[in-house]
């Protein structure tokens, strides 16, 4: 399941035939399109097909059409955020060589959230791009901090130490976020959206602000794909193969921090997407990061869109934030990964 497993049929798992990967690529793309369509068609309000088509054409004559017009940016945001988180998780698992790495589990999304919340409450942060910058800075600080704490002591950053440091940091930051937001009635309206992520508040302008950041993060992550393949062999071997290990780590980490920081600045902290998606994708396309990274983006988009649609169906006429559903789906998965690990690795 993980790249570190030594399996009798490791070769067969690692290098999938190209045709099979292409098949999966088509399947995932079809699923994504279907989910996006469902996300536009399904919601807390039933809208007739004719109205949906009319709304997509740009008319907002009745309530149904207006609802659909709001669902379109929401769907786009879910796809973008899911893709960003899925890929960020894959890159983090590659950089730390840790099957438990995830922007949520490691507390990085919470770092981004805290930075945004502090900016809003104390420094009068108002412009959308400043929010994104604050989130990215918070994510970067949290990432460095968790990695530093997790790699203290003997054995460096073992999966267990890193996961514990991340979980502790995440819990700590959650408390701080609540303490910062609660006294401020003017921003307390959003308290839950900073503690539990969701894509309900999507707007075109918000999406426009984060897209450049996401694009840069995406490019940096994809550029480091080949380097991550070498890193999987271990630092010594990677260096021996001529890889500049520190450089690869730096670029990949920057890419993943940009991705999850920007995603958190628009959607709040959403955990476990980055954990689940890479593990699933490795089963489908193997461990080659050049294939894995684009796949995790697509699958992440599928997962988040599906969770968002589900959240709108489950508690009609109300809505369930997507962050709640991803935790409900993702936490059992986390437990399964913990259980699969060999004793020595944990």
């Amino acid at each position: 399941m993980t790249s570190t497993d030594t399996h009798p049929t490791a070769d067969a798992i690692t290098w999938r035939p190209r045709s099979r990967r292409v098949t999966w690529l088509v399947v995932v793309l079809v699923v994504l399109v279907a989910l996006a369509a469902a996300s536009i068609a399904v919601g807390s309000r039933d809208v007739a097909w004719s109205d949906i088509v009319a709304a997509l054409g740009g008319t907002t004559d009745n309530l149904g059409q207006a609802a659909v017009t709001k669902r379109v940016p929401r769907t786009v945001l879910a796809v973008l955020v899911g893709a960003a988180l899925g890929m960020a998780g894959a890159v983090m698992q590659g950089v730390t060589r840790n099957p438990l790495a995830d922007p949520g589990v490691l507390g990085i999304n919470m770092g981004a959230s805290l930075a945004v919340v502090v900016g809003l409450a104390w420094f009068g942060l108002s412009s959308a791009s400043a929010t994104v910058w604050a989130a990215i800075a918070g994510a970067a600080v949290a990432a460095v901090f968790v990695y530093a704490v997790g790699s203290l002591g003997r054995g460096g950053a073992t999966p267990l130490k890193l996961a514990l440091a991340g979980a502790a940091t995440s819990a700590a930051l959650t408390s701080l976020i609540t303490a910062v937001v609660l006294p401020r009635n003017d921003i307390a309206e959003n308290v839950l959206s900073f503690e539990i992520g969701g894509v309900g508040g999507a707007t075109w302008s918000g999406i426009g602000t984060v897209v450049p950041f996401l694009a840069v993060g995406l490019v940096l992550s994809l550029l480091s794909a080949r380097g991550l393949n070498s890193l999987a062999l271990g630092d010594e071997l990677a260096t021996g193969l001529g890889e500049r290990v520190a450089m690869v780590r730096g670029v990949a980490a920057l890419g993943s921090v940009l991705l999850c920081g920007a995603a958190t600045s628009v959607a709040g902290p959403i955990a476990f997407v980055g954990l689940v998606v890479p593990h699933l994708c490795r089963l489908l396309v193997g461990v080659d990061h050049r294939w894995l990274l684009p796949f995790t983006a697509l699958t992440g988009a599928c997962l988040l869109t599906a969770a968002d649609v589900l959240g709108r169906i489950l508690v009609r006429p109300s809505e369930l934030d997507v962050g709640i559903l991803t935790a409900l789906i993702g936490a059992p998965f986390f437990i399964a990964v913990v259980r699969r690990q060999k004793l020595r690795e944990l």
Partner: protein, 356 residues
Amino acid sequence: MSADLERPRLVEVPAAAVTQVTRDRKRRAVRRRVVIAVLSVLVLAMIAVSLMVGQTFYPPGDVLRVLLGQDVPGAAFTVGRLRIPRTVLAVVVGLSFGLAGVTFQTMLRNPLASPDVIGISSGAGAAAAFAIVVVGWSGTRVSAFAIVVCLAVALAIYLLAFKGGVLGTRLILIGIGVEAMLRSATAYVLSVAADWDLQEAMRWLTGSLNGASWTATLPALVALVVLAPILLGQTRNLSTLQLGDDTAAALGVRLERTRLIAILAAVGLIAFATSGAGPIAFVAFLAGPIAARLVGPNGSLLVPAALVGALLVLVGDFCGQYAFGNRMPVGVVTGVLGAPSLIYLIIRTNRAGGSL
């Protein structure tokens, strides 16, 4: 100890060394007693402060007369109806969380294995939120339901962590996963409920004493009175368990029986306290390590940790009400206190190069 006398002496121990050991033991026993006494005085002082001080100050005389059941204009309502239930709930909940937390930490030999880190408190929180907010139950039915769910969660964590023996670290990681799930389950329950407000959400997510009443306090109080003596009866067995299962068994501890009693009592305390005030963040986690620092390496931590827990909740609630411009739920205050301690604990363990 008497065990020493029964064993045949193979090596002659110098008399000076024996007196040195005896003196050290005595000194540590004195320190333990002093710490417990000081903590008790502090808890009593904090109770007095919480009863007297508030938006309006009532002198000790007024408070005493209200306590004796006399009708004092103004104070009868403010102190009798608002402050007394709140203070009693704070003390009961603090004692319960401290006691249950240190029981888990002692039994699993790891400070991170406290019920609020591994999801047992959030299990009770989710259950209580569901029972109260969605089903509309109240009183003992809520607590009973919370206990059942709590036990189920504890059992589930134990079984999930069991794989040819339970490894403490794996149990903690799995507990963290369970905690994340139950927290979002609580959020789910709250959002399904028709009319829930931020106040209610804060209570079930971080713990709060706002809206404390006798109906919420009494079940927790009864549970404490019944369960605390049972747990304290296991003091010696729990301390011996810390030496490791094999050693404890060799020293005559009935492992399974001790564990079962301790888990049932601790889970009961957590469930009743949580259905009264919500899972107050990090009190169960903090009480044990603080008590250990104060008492030093001797004797059981159960009583000091319970007192520290009560003190934390009392001080946290008082600060939350009056120290900041805005009324903060106690869970937010203890959360901010507990968060850095959690990180500090992990840094220290990692530095020491422990097996963690």
